[in-house]
Symmetry: C2
Subunit: 335 residues, 2 copies
Amino acid sequence: MPEYSDDITLDSVKSAVKFEFDSLEKRLKAVLRSDVSLLDEIYASLSGNPGKRLRPNMLFLAARNSDGDPEKAVTAGFAVELVHTATLIHDDIIDANDLRRGQPTVSSKWGRNIATIMGDYLYSRAFSCLSEEGLWEVISILAHATNAMSVGEMLQFQHKRDVNISEKSYLNLINKKTASLFAASCESGAILGPNGNRDRNGYSMFGENIGLAYQITDDLFDYLDAEKYMGKPVAVDLAGGKVTLPFIISYKNAPENVRRRVGDMLRIGFDKEGCWDEMLLFIKNYGGVEYSIEKARNFGEKAKTFLNAVSSSPETDLLCYAADYVVERVVPYSG
Amino acid sequence: MPEYSDDITLDSVKSAVKFEFDSLEKRLKAVLRSDVSLLDEIYASLSGNPGKRLRPNMLFLAARNSDGDPEKAVTAGFAVELVHTATLIHDDIIDANDLRRGQPTVSSKWGRNIATIMGDYLYSRAFSCLSEEGLWEVISILAHATNAMSVGEMLQFQHKRDVNISEKSYLNLINKKTASLFAASCESGAILGPNGNRDRNGYSMFGENIGLAYQITDDLFDYLDAEKYMGKPVAVDLAGGKVTLPFIISYKNAPENVRRRVGDMLRIGFDKEGCWDEMLLFIKNYGGVEYSIEKARNFGEKAKTFLNAVSSSPETDLLCYAADYVVERVVPYSG
């Protein structure tokens, strides 16, 4: 298994793919010239706090490690970031989120209708720019991923306030909702190289497992005092009826009277002021936090095993770092 | 210019492309097997009143006339119909429509959130099925069309309750919002044939002009007593602040005091009970109805001229019929 030195950070990733990263930022800024002032205004607001560009950076690393053309990688990474942004915008409508990365969401600032259109605009822009450069395989990968993401969203709806959702169903849901785009990003990077067909599956599985780890820790943040770090308030998922891994595990482990109590809290509607502390205690006392970190760590480790087939290189080191990063980011807040 | 006999009907179109039409229906039904019961349930409800399949049928005719592979045409038509359905679902969220083709809309029956996801699902399904059959050029055409459609939707928002929107801006808006998918359908049919690169532009322009005629008559229906015919109530567009051609023209022609009166009605909010009759009189008296029919007819005629380059055939006759159909359907209600 590839190893990396301890002093790697997210900035190391960015500087390792500096050409691609800088080109991506340039292309993302250029989206602004759309002749429709409202589109430009909304798009400009998204640049306020741009996020970590985790998915395109993983794509860039996979492409470099596969000797893929950097220009094509930039286009593919650009499309992935547009799809990701579109997804966030539509998610924020559905979850009625007011804040994202500490900034007002499109739906809270301009309303849900405009947010619906904005998401559609960015989705279709992603596919049209890929087609302009003939990146057909990337289109195929990304179309299937966006389709899986919408299925994941629908499953999430179907399981709203479902205290009996199994761990397996939860993992299937987050695989579709989140891991599919991580998998698509890494696979898209790999196919840009000459051995794409040999390596694509390994990279896809690597991305899928990182994506699972990512969503598990993301869901865990909802129960942790990480409001400042994440820029989104805690207890939002649960209040919205989203039953995630920490709850599923603690619910499984808790005695009947406790299950009845938290089940009622979730079903009847969740009052953050009234019973949040009790809920936090429940999640912690019955093993939900620990189990989730452990599970995320396992997915992170499993991800790395898929890089074994690929020769060790600075890029694989950085991809391994990304796998650890998505897990370990939650640890300081879980004490 | 190609001519057709008077006894052609929409059914003639369907039977001329019977293989493609039947295969399309079969494929549309097969979408149902998605493993997510909620998706299937919603999709099944859409089949209740399926619409005229105008866009795929035009694609089929263009493909036949270009000697395109019928199986590929079916896939392309399937994707076009999925995109069209996705657009309707998102439009119905935005316009807060309760009814479409006489049936409850997805957003009215399942809520706006689920409708957002359903639209995303159908969009991405369209692109993923095209990529499975390697129809890359169709993907490119359709990606650009869906992007234009979202821009059109955004423009519509920008011009909400804008009594001063010019005819030119209106035409640009409906070109993007509606005509782009008609153009994409016809162009997609043409490129499936051996002379695709020679003919695609003509077919695209043919579709664009039909699309313009289609949207103008569709907008006109909002002012006509065609509730039963269209399955959607009248006065919806105007009540929602959509300023369309009949209004634009009558507003331009009316004297200052009338302009002020209808301008106030539109700006302050529109009470259908109170002043609908007055509004209808305004649209009629100041030439909005007549002008719109004339304009639609001109676009229909212009559309046909783009078929001149193509040899006359039963398919061109039927395409010409489609051009007339989208215009003349409004005439019985405009007296």
